[in-house]
Symmetry: D3
Subunit: 136 residues, 6 copies
């Protein structure tokens, strides 16, 4: 087994809040991250896939194809967007980095499997000091 | 003369647009950066001051004091905020990185001078691929 | 299971040496790292915890609380300190990056468990070219 | 078990191609990476070894010795070289990052075992956006 | 005056040599950088332009247009290329980072002026430890 | 004129204090940086030299020679040392980043001039958030 990781970036607005709660209650849970007027981040996304090397070709998945799938399924829906209001796969989820990593996993698993690659890890970095990893 | 630089970070939402124009017209000028539902960035701010070293103390300005001034005058007004709607010193300016650097200069010049430090450069990095510098 | 990592930094002095050995003997084992007059580093600490996502809140542990615990239990005892002489949890250990990672694990495991988070990995980076990971 | 990672760098030329195919056919598979006139990268190599800490010494393997072995067995054969034409351990392999990681594993496993260290992971970063990991 | 910088990257093969000299003589001057079988780098290019802010628009030059010009005039001629053999604007120049920075300046100055932007600095980073700046 | 920069690193212990003052008084001025038991940093040093390109050779100063001079004159006296007690050129100076940059300038100016290179800037980075530049 060999592991291939592709790094992509997107800049998005978001806020953390639970829909049934008041701004005050959300502020108690999420602090400044629940600002009703939004804030945003340059997110870094690292997607790791694994597979068996084909020694005749030297890889198990074309890195350019990996990049294309991540862009088509994930980046176009998040980059320069408001993830609470515009990103379909975030509907019904609290817009934390944790939920985001799990939602991205759900978007990528099948399309990658269709290319013969097993999704191994989705890593989302919100700032240089915080990141989340999800392995399914 | 010696130059001292302090790096700070803030995460903010914004959009680029001119108030008199329609969303369509703004989109022609600013593209996806004019998304009416906002997007955001992890901004990096680098503030450079200059002065004559006091050899008895080994500096011309205490770096901790520099950090405090940047935080009080700039970071608290931008971090986890919507800079178009919440940042007083951005009122009347298009929320580009260029305008932001110039506005931060205006906020910092006098308070730094009051500490005996000359503001030399304000650098604002919007992504890992774009940054702006202003020298007054 | 989802994994959350927090990055913190501390600047400390140290030297590597075994208490029963002469400076010469320590120099044979640890080289310049055993300098009796000390040297130091900007250490980077990455603490990874894991848990089950609470979908109503969007996380299993508040990242701000994680930061607080790391600071209270570890950073205040290391930052701008001499880890050989001043850091209680390094007493009786050779001040290598390996020992440091294991000692930090011992400091963090119980306080994190008390918050419902399982400590997964302690990573200590001594320079940009060397780091150590401990998984318990 | 504790894990120690050493980071090294090398700058090399390469092209991806299968020896039995024409330039046109290789271009279909590998795109611009198959340029017959070569291109190159600043590769980053991260080698992770694992072992049981010797508490009297504070490590299981001297980091300087790890660095020496990586340099002797791998870096001198790749740095400022053409990996297709000059690197003996790449003979008969397509010069992808995947093949490179596996070949480096083969070069390092025995020499590291002779020092009492178990090779855990070879990571090769080709650009800031792509990397490969091999665990044997 | 405000300064805008765009960062781009390209991966290229090269060697340093003077056409009239033997491989041995070139090796005396350029060392391993003169390897006749080539080596390569991930180059980082930073292009800084300056201009007067138009306060109605919030910039003096569209950053996307800056990116396009750098790509059209420079990156397509260098990325995944052999700069000695394939890059027209490097003809007749020794392929050092210094020559490269000056050649890129010559390529960019006029097209940027045509957009109303003054080229201020071309910075080329060959490795994480070496870079060159040219101000015309 | 073209500018060439070389980046080097050193890990050192230090404390900031004025010799005539008590620990308490030093603590008032320098805070935790005056810890009498020392602390330390991974310093990053960037030395920029300038000169006229020799078009036949493609540079004005060999980058390897620049590296050697920085190492001989500066790095060997600071790396894995206590800069207050062991670095001759810091004698009589308060061990701030500012003083360090000026002292390094004094050490490098003449040896670089002897190689035909004009020293342009000494930059010392103490942490990822603070750096000092000196231009003579």
């Amino acid at each position: 087994m060999i592991y291939l990781t592709r790094r992509e970036r997107f800049s998005a607005a978001h806020r953390m809040f639970r829909s049934g709660l008041s701004d005050e209650e959300n502020n108690k849970i999420y602090g400044k991250c629940s600002n009703p007027l939004w804030h945003g981040h340059n997110y870094v996304l690292k997607v790791t896939v694994k597979g068996e090397l084909d020694p005749d070709i030297g890889y198990f998945m074309n890195a350019t194809r990996l990049k294309e799938i991540i862009n088509e399924k994930v980046i176009v829906k998040l980059d320069h967007k408001n993830m609470n209001l515009e990103t379909d796969f975030m509907a019904g989820r609290v817009a934390t980095t944790e939920s985001l990593a799990m939602a991205i996993w759900d978007e990528l698993k099948a399309p990658l499997a269709a290319e013969g690659a097993l999704l191994h890890c989705v890593r989302v970095e919100e700032t240089e000091n915080n990141y989340v990893e999800y392995y399914g």
